[in-house]
Symmetry: C2
Subunit: 371 residues, 2 copies
């Protein structure tokens, strides 16, 4: 079976390469990949493969994946976790470790993260830490994971005091984004994924922003060709950014457009109340307004972003947490330095920057877009 299955145009499916020296890897994108043994032929050989998944995704896809892996591994085990951001915790991580150790898994064991962003981040961190590092493969089954979280090697769990506070930069050996797994995605999850797709335009590619606006209805209708292009172009932009700045020393921070406000929303409400993509959607509106208030962008940019986020069926108003609470939550963001909050702002369509902003201006943004 070819990577380029018949339902996708050859130009829209295929492979995106992440160039990171000896940590380079490929992202395979297309329908029908999960059950195709040829896709898995480049994964490192080992005695054991372990599929880490959750109770929603596992029953749908784990057997198909296990069957394909059976040609390459002597045994294929499975660890299933509860579904949701609320389980991106040390306790879940330890369930993975318990499973690996109980089965006598050695340090050549390959982990497969089958699920959305929570499973990908947690499994990647488990792989980074188990016996000081085993190989892992990302098998993202949500749009958000396919366009963002499965690519680039950021792994983490949450801490009660902050999202993704405990983690590692640890690259997968391969990413397999099977577009067919999106068929079972809930509408709310699809919208959450679109938030990250929308993100790539303003920060890196004005033409892609135009394309997303023109094809948003097709994306919402789960049109496979539109999804294939959205996933591929998102991965290309992310690959370009991560290839220049693997460990977020500078440029990579632009991928966090909307995330500083978004993380405050998630933390303030308690993780899992809003989906990550929902918080990012609303956060992009706030960060767009900040860009306008700082004189970087015209007011029409904010209107354009509000309209697009709304059309994607994402919230454009944040919860009423209080301005001080928002500011406090943002001060513990990982981008903060010495207590100063750092915001990703749009400096021109397709170009982002990171800078501090006066508390009064940030307060105006919060008051205009929450409650």
């Amino acid at each position: 079976m070819s990577l380029l299955a018949s339902t996708a145009r050859p130009s829209e499916a295929g492979t995106v390469h992440i160039a990171l020296g000896d940590r380079s890897y490929d992202i395979h994108i297309g329908p029908g990949l999960l059950g195709a043994p040829s896709v898995w032929a480049t994964v490192p050989q080992a005695h054991s493969a372990v599929i880490v998944t959750n109770e929603t995704v596992g029953p749908l896809y784990a057997e198909r994946l296990a069957h394909a892996l059976g040609t390459r591994f002597r045994r294929v085990l499975q660890v299933s976790l509860p579904d949701g951001e609320a389980y991106k915790t040390w306790e879940s991580l330890n369930r993975v470790f318990d499973g690996l150790l109980a089965a006598g898994c050695d340090r050549k064991t390959v982990l497969f993260a089958l699920g959305g962003g929570v499973i990908g981040d947690l499994t990647g961190f488990a792989a980074a830490c188990y016996m000081r590092g085993v190989p892992f493969v990302q098998v993202p089954t949500t749009l958000l994971a396919q366009v963002d979280s499965s690519v680039g090697g950021k792994t983490a769990i949450n801490h009660p005091r902050g999202k993704n506070m405990i983690g590692a930069f640890y690259q997968p050996v391969q990413v397999v984004a099977d577009l067919d797994t999106l068929d079972t995605l809930a509408a709310r999850e699809l919208s959450a994924g679109l938030a990250e797709v929308i993100k790539y335009g303003p920060i890196a590619d004005a033409a892609f922003l135009d394309w997303v606006e023109a094809h948003l209805d097709a994306l919402l209708a789960m049109d496979k060709e539109a999804l294939a292009h959205a996933v591929r172009r998102s991965c290309e932009i992310k690959a370009w950014v991560v290839g220049q700045d693997e460990r977020e020393g500078g440029l990579r921070a632009i991928l966090n457009f909307g995330h500083t406000f978004g993380h405050a929303i998630e933390a303030g409400l308690g993780y899992g109340e809003w989906l990550h993509g929902e918080a990012v959607g609303c956060g992009m509106v706030m960060a767009s307004d900040l860009s306008v208030r700082l004189g970087l962008m015209p007011p029409s940019f904010l209107q354009r972003m509000v309209r697009l986020v709304e059309r994607a069926r994402l919230p454009v108003r944040g919860p009423k947490l209080g301005t001080d609470r928002y500011l406090d939550l943002m001060r513990v963001d990982k981008k903060a330095e010495g207590g100063e909050i750092r915001f990703v702002v749009i400096e021109a369509l397709g170009r982002a920057g990171v800078r501090a902003a006066p508390d009064e201006v940030v307060a105006e943004v919060i008051e205009a877009h929450t409650g």
Copy 2:
């Protein structure tokens, strides 16, 4: 103040360099280093420094270190953990994270591991994971940590099912081995450190084995010149090995001479019952016997090692756990692959190798040296 303080010969104190590309760093060795601001002048600048220590070492040395760091950091915080291998756990790690997050520490914060191997391994792993990685400095205060665990970037915590099972390869930005901190070391801890010093001779430097035999009484008497040479030569050998194989793809495994048997002893008794160095001392006797039984070394080598380990006041007989239990415990060792135990053996004086051994021969070794 010079790094070469007056009580040490210039040739025996000073600096050992670990060459690891952009992860290279220096080990400073000598008396009087802890309170010398010049030693800390090359540590990255940041708003906050956090000293992670334990309830035994903290009261002795934390204030001296905090004072020296006060010239370079706006605030110097401290997190103190209970003392002992039994606390090398997720719970202790989380106490460090709680402390860092409660104080609003950002991702430029520098951690200082002030203590022995447990503090160094745990603090290094905390640094590897906190906000996906912050810089850390090793400040080893035990002989074992100065000659072994603080150098080379292996960090970890224990899991109920195995020692050091959860961890990372993560290099410190500097190591500061102040020989004066050994003044408060208990005799049992000194002997435990000597186990790792003894190790370097058979695996890498036959002349150093001769030197250790000739100077063991001086080392036991805490002679500073002898200690300075032992620390320096141990670090040089470790630097040479780690520089060639940072992530234990091959050569580095020789540093685990005695550790496969030793880890089984520690796990079988429960961590903390025997000191790590005590288990390694006994483990070296067993691994030496294995080398003899495999026909690699003459019986006189075993006698020589038994004599030296005994003189260092280390145990030469392991606890009676039962042969099957030893074998089971060794099968979950990180060096095991597909259930096959891999042993570090001596192939010639000053040269080690890694290989499997028939269960019957390993059983003979266990029966000859335990109970």
